[in-house]
């Protein structure tokens, strides 16, 4: 997405950004998905979206798996260290088709959240995900990922066991996975820990989901040096559904029931199911090489930058100024 400076500088509502969403290909415009940001009326504030996305009563991965899929058989373990309860996955039927599904799992209660580590995976959670991705690939089963995490767990054991490597490898595996992949952001899409499940042919988000490079609280602490500016940071980060659609981060929004997904898990599941099935109907006949080329292009074009034909060279400092750091 290359644009003249003027267009870019005008910010998120610029034509260039809206075009990204329109570019996102041939999503069926049959009302299952919101694909046109201009069609969204009465959108909630960024901060309300953050609160909705984090609502304890919101349907979490297993709530939706139970409703969207049939005969789900959970598979455990990363084959190297541990079964991470913050990541769930297995084989299931979707509308009569066998698929592999992998998701991050938050709890619906404090107790369950402690068991699920609040949906924050350890490295072994990502390695379990990778193993299941490979299972899908080997047997040519479509892969559905469900994203819902505040982020990867930042504890010292997670660092020691290679949190960064695990996320990186998960991303890498998805970029080349030889089977269709559909990702759905259910609630919180927290940074790299979310992206590890988010490299897909089609990336969808629930209407009130968020997807962000950093938590609003973290951003506020760093940039405003104040945790209380989280609301302002949330707005600035453009992390809510309509922004994500406008920016081309997601390809479509799955409508939520009135007031939010927490009010009706069944209705939410019906929307998710319809959306995912429609996408897999579309992707399944595509030859794998085309699929991979399309997936590459989808992420390849994300980014906003200016590329002047000619421009003045940056002022270079003399070497001694650079040595002296001034």
């Amino acid at each position: 997405m290359r644009d003249p400076i003027g267009t870019i500088r005008s910010g998120a509502t610029a034509l260039g950004l809206r075009r990204a969403a329109e570019d996102n290909g041939d999503l069926p415009a049959d009302g299952l998905l919101i694909v046109d940001v201009s069609g969204i009326s009465g959108r909630v504030s960024a901060w309300d979206a953050v609160k909705l996305a984090r609502d304890l009563k919101r349907p979490h991965a297993l709530d939706l798996i139970e409703r969207v899929f049939d005969r789900f058989q959970e598979l455990h373990g990363d084959r190297s260290f541990r079964d991470d309860p913050a990541v769930v996955g297995g084989i299931a039927h979707l509308d009569g088709h066998p698929v592999v599904v992998v998701g991050q799992q938050k709890g619906g209660s404090t107790e369950e959240n402690i068991q699920r580590n609040f949906g924050m995976p350890h490295p072994e959670g990502y390695r379990k995900a990778i193993r299941l991705y490979r299972l899908a690939e080997r047997f040519h089963l479509p892969l559905v990922t469900l994203i819902d995490t505040p982020g990867a767990y930042p504890g010292p054991e997670a660092e020691e066991r290679g949190q960064a490597e695990a996320i990186a490898k998960s991303i890498e595996t998805l970029t080349r996975l030889r089977t269709p992949v559909v990702a759905v952001v259910l609630g919180e899409g927290g940074s790299g820990g979310a992206l590890a499940l988010g490299v897909a042919d089609v990336v969808l988000a629930l209407e009130n989901a968020i997807y962000s490079v950093i938590s609003p609280e973290g951003c506020a602490a760093i940039l405003w040096r104040s945790g209380t500016e989280a609301e302002r940071a949330a707005k600035a980060l453009k992390l809510a559904g309509p922004d994500l659609l406008a920016l081309g981060i997601v390809d479509g929004l799955v409508p939520e029931p009135r007031g939010g997904a927490q009010n009706d898990h069944d209705a939410t599941a019906r929307s998710v199911k319809a959306a995912v099935v429609a996408q897999l109907d579309r992707l399944s006949p595509v030859p794998v090489t085309e699929l991979l080329a399309g997936r590459y292009e989808r992420f390849r074009r994300i980014g906003v930058f200016v590329e002047p034909e000619t421009a003045p060279a940056a002022p270079r400092r003399t070497w001694w100024k650079r040595v002296l750091g001034r």
């Binding site: 990867a152 930042p154 490597e165 890498e172 970029t175 992420f299 390849r300 994300i302 906003v304 750091g325």
Partner: protein, 278 residues
């Protein structure tokens, strides 16, 4: 050679080593590749100095030097993103947080990307992503090894989720190299954290690191605060990360050029047949 831009520099003429406390003349330090001659503390260096240090003399041809960030979110905190960019340019003398280009290392042609921590903490936004992807795509087209030297605090908040997506964008490109049998060497320097480490930084066929470089997903401070435990000795330092299995070698700056030269020569891409000749 002008090795020298350093955070730690407190005076015109001399610098105190933050590790051993030794007082070092700046000229002496620069001559020693900005490594403390007494304790081997590796001072941070800029991207231009790094490139001069690594490539065969005169072989570097910069690519995409003018690629510049937009302001896609209209992001403003205490100041606007465009103002931050301007300040970073003035401070670093660079257009963005990565310099890319084609070069030779020990005679082997490579595509090179070197990050500069002084440009907004080496943060990765759309320009870093685009320049590195173009470098990887050139490496694929030319069948040249790719070398990326990282120094980064992670993704650039001011570009929001677009910055996050650069992780996937760059990895998608380096992953293609892997499938094509083209080597990718990742060099981690002080500090490499966050989204850069959690994407291409960790994915080299070989991952090298400079001594004592800070290498971690979450900053140690974040980890410490989140958990409230005491951290193990050497936590998130290069040697610690090597012993935990994620870094192939910790390489002193003085040996880095020769080491990379050896690896890109040994792993030189072939047309699929077994490599049984030099």
């Amino acid at each position: 050679m002008p090795f020298g831009r350093r955070k730690e520099l407190p005076s015109h003429l001399w610098t105190q080593c933050p590790d051993c406390g030794e007082m070092l003349f700046n000229k002496q330090l620069a001559r020693n590749m900005n490594v403390c001659p007494k304790c081997e503390h590796h001072f941070k260096i800029g991207a231009r100095e790094r490139i001069e240090m690594l490539v065969d003399k005169g072989s570097f041809e910069e690519r995409d030097p003018l690629l510049a960030p937009g302001d896609p979110l209209g992001f403003t905190d205490t100041k606007g993103y465009p103002q931050r960019i301007e300040a970073a340019r003035a401070k670093s003398g660079e257009q963005e947080a990565v310099i890319t280009g084609s070069a030779r290392i020990g005679g082997t042609p490579v595509e090179l990307g070197v990050m500069d921590f002084e440009f907004i903490g080496g943060s990765m936004g759309s320009v870093v992503g685009e320049k590195l992807v173009r470098a990887a795509e050139r490496a694929l087209a030319e069948r040249n090894p790719l070398v990326i030297v990282s120094a980064s605090g992670g993704a650039r908040m001011q570009e929001g989720t677009l910055a996050l997506m650069q992780m996937a964008k760059v990895v998608a490109a380096t992953a293609r190299l892997g499938d094509a049998g083209i080597p990718y060497v990742s060099v981690l320097t002080d500090p490499t954290t966050g989204g850069v480490l959690a994407s291409y930084g960790s994915l080299g066929d070989l991952v090298l690191a400079e001594p004592k470089a800070l290498i971690g997903f979450s900053g140690a401070r974040v980890t410490d605060q989140t958990i409230g435990e005491r951290l193990p000795a050497g936590f998130q330092r290069a040697e610690f990360v090597r012993d935990h299995g994620f870094v192939d070698q910790v390489v002193p700056r003085s040996q880095l050029r020769d080491r990379i030269a050896f690896f890109v020569s040994a792993l030189r891409p072939t047309a699929g047949e077994v490599r049984w000749s030099l």
